[in-house]
Amino acid sequence: MKIDSCIDEIRSLAAEMGRQVRLMEVCGTHTVSAFRSGLRSMLPDEVSLIAGPGCPVCVTPNGYLDRAIAISRQPNTLIMTFGDMLRVPGSESSLEKERASGANIRIVYSPMDAVAAARAEPRTRVVFLGVGFETTMPTIAWTLRKAREDGLDNYSVLCAHKTIPEAMAALLAGGEARIDGFMCPGHVSVIIGAAAYRPLCEEYRIPCVVAGFEASDMAITIRMLLAQLVAERADVEVQYKRSVTDEGNAAARAACAEVFEKCATEWRGVGLIPDSGMRIREDFAAHDASRVFSDVEVPEAVEHPGCICGEVLRGVRTPPDCPLFGKGCTPAHPVGACMVSSEGSCAAYHKFAQREGK
């Protein structure tokens, strides 16, 4: 379907709804795509796309960064991380700042490279920052299996993985943000399968459509969500049929199950959500950085007063509501994680706000 005709259909469906429709795009990658592709500019005013908590950068609490930084200051360590985490502010510093001060911190495209580094430098303690959702978890699980198989005692993971459906349910249970439908994360769904959203769809009667990442994928998804709303249906549908099946990728899930187990975990700004996190199983304790480095002192985490990242992530407030937005907190000097992700909620708003002259 050509995007122009899709946008036309969105307009007429929105008009039929006759009220503001708030759709949450859970995944940070959708936020970036919606912005870069210009999709946001094509949607009618009655359709709002709210950015959700699917940005691993944004929902990682200060404490995790503080711990990573503390480990990086230990002798003989090498922190390896995805580029996303480098600029996230902790209580006092960031990995980027530490790197500039001489800490051994490297970014990788793939966790495979961290295993290779551990192999190449057996006397260095390589710590991989395990951040990300279900799409990324299997890749880190692979590294833990590999480390154990190959006896790479110097390799460990500092785990902060989180799972998406529980967070979506927590947002709905919280009841504060009016969410009319979910644009479900396309690549998380490749792993967990579209069926994973059925329980929350049925319990909360909320339309869920699993979306791809091109502009027309997202436009079609929005049309499908509106069509459900107009027909007063609430189903799980898949727009991203190229990649997503009902069952997902069993091999990837098996790797995760072998290495990780569910636990409650803190989502920055949302709070503790039961069963929404992963920790490394006892079996793999030798490769669990939180245990390997348990003696490292980490100062108490400090969240910046005034920072309302949490409410923005929950879709309850918008970036301009934040007292720090554009004043203490800008893309060049971010205070909270929402501003770090280059086109995350706050950074994207920052650009639009300029346009509207606010």
Binding site: L39, F82, G83, D84, Y109, A215, S342, Q354
Partner: protein
Amino acid sequence: MTADRGDKGEVVLMGHGGGGSMTDSIISGLILRELGNPILEKLDDAACLTVLESELVMTTDSFVIDPLFYPGGDIGSLAVCGTVNDLAMQGARPRYLSLALIMEEGLPLADVETIIRSVGDCARRADVIIVTGDTKVVETPGGARRAGMFINTAGLGVRDPGVDVSVSNARPGDVVIVTGTIGDHGTAIMNVREDLQLESSLLSDAAPLSGMVMALLDRVPCVHCMRDPTRGGLAAALCDIAGKSDCCVKIRERLLPVKNEVNGACSILGLDILNVANEGKAVIVCAAGDEKAVLDSLRGDELGRDACVIGSVSDAPAGMVLMETRAGGERIVDVPAGIDLPRIC
């Protein structure tokens, strides 16, 4: 050929910055050999230059790139290109460069030699000479993975009076042109610097643009503005033009020239091509109607073969850069906060 100074000749030592015979071994043994010319060979404390044309244009630049060597070039060639291009973007013909080296102890002398040779090659290509310089040595900082080098330059060029290509000269109705493919340098560098292990023929595009620019100004003297999209990429250059000219620059994504491989690398890493540095390209803004002559002139040069129109200038919203996306929507193009990093999210 390395310095003939004892058996510690393989790496830079603190003594090489001492001003004595070790320093001399670098200057006479390497620098004069590769960069020699009558002015430099005098090795006076300052160079005396005769300039007959009336307008002097001067620039300074520092080069701190890591890694020192990368596909398509090294810090030496980059230093010459960067300085020469700053002058060229002002419509000046580059003539003289100064070259100050700050080397970290432990840097292999063979590397220094390669870098100086690059400086020489690039200077000859750009038709400039190095007339004065300096060498210093410092200790390598404790956590550093490898010893490095910093280069500072100053460049002097000459310009005919009446040439004015300031970035504040863009006017509504103008046409925006880019001289070739974007994103080449930054992606090549990032791949090597962060060891991302992408295998490709990604190459830095660093090149001296003065020849192409002088020929352009000869043919179309009334070009409105020029700016090279280095740090901050095309986004930063266009924002500079829009801001200083108090106009709106509107570009079309589908018109942006991008090499297939650069597109591939940016897709894998999640980089926004607009923010990626270029070292051998220029943005040219000219009056409507002049674009054909501009493109003809640029495309006649090897460095401007892929020159094309990417957008236009309008009056509002003033100071902003907008892009019509492939999807047919619109987005704001902003100055990036820092260098884009590879992402998984």
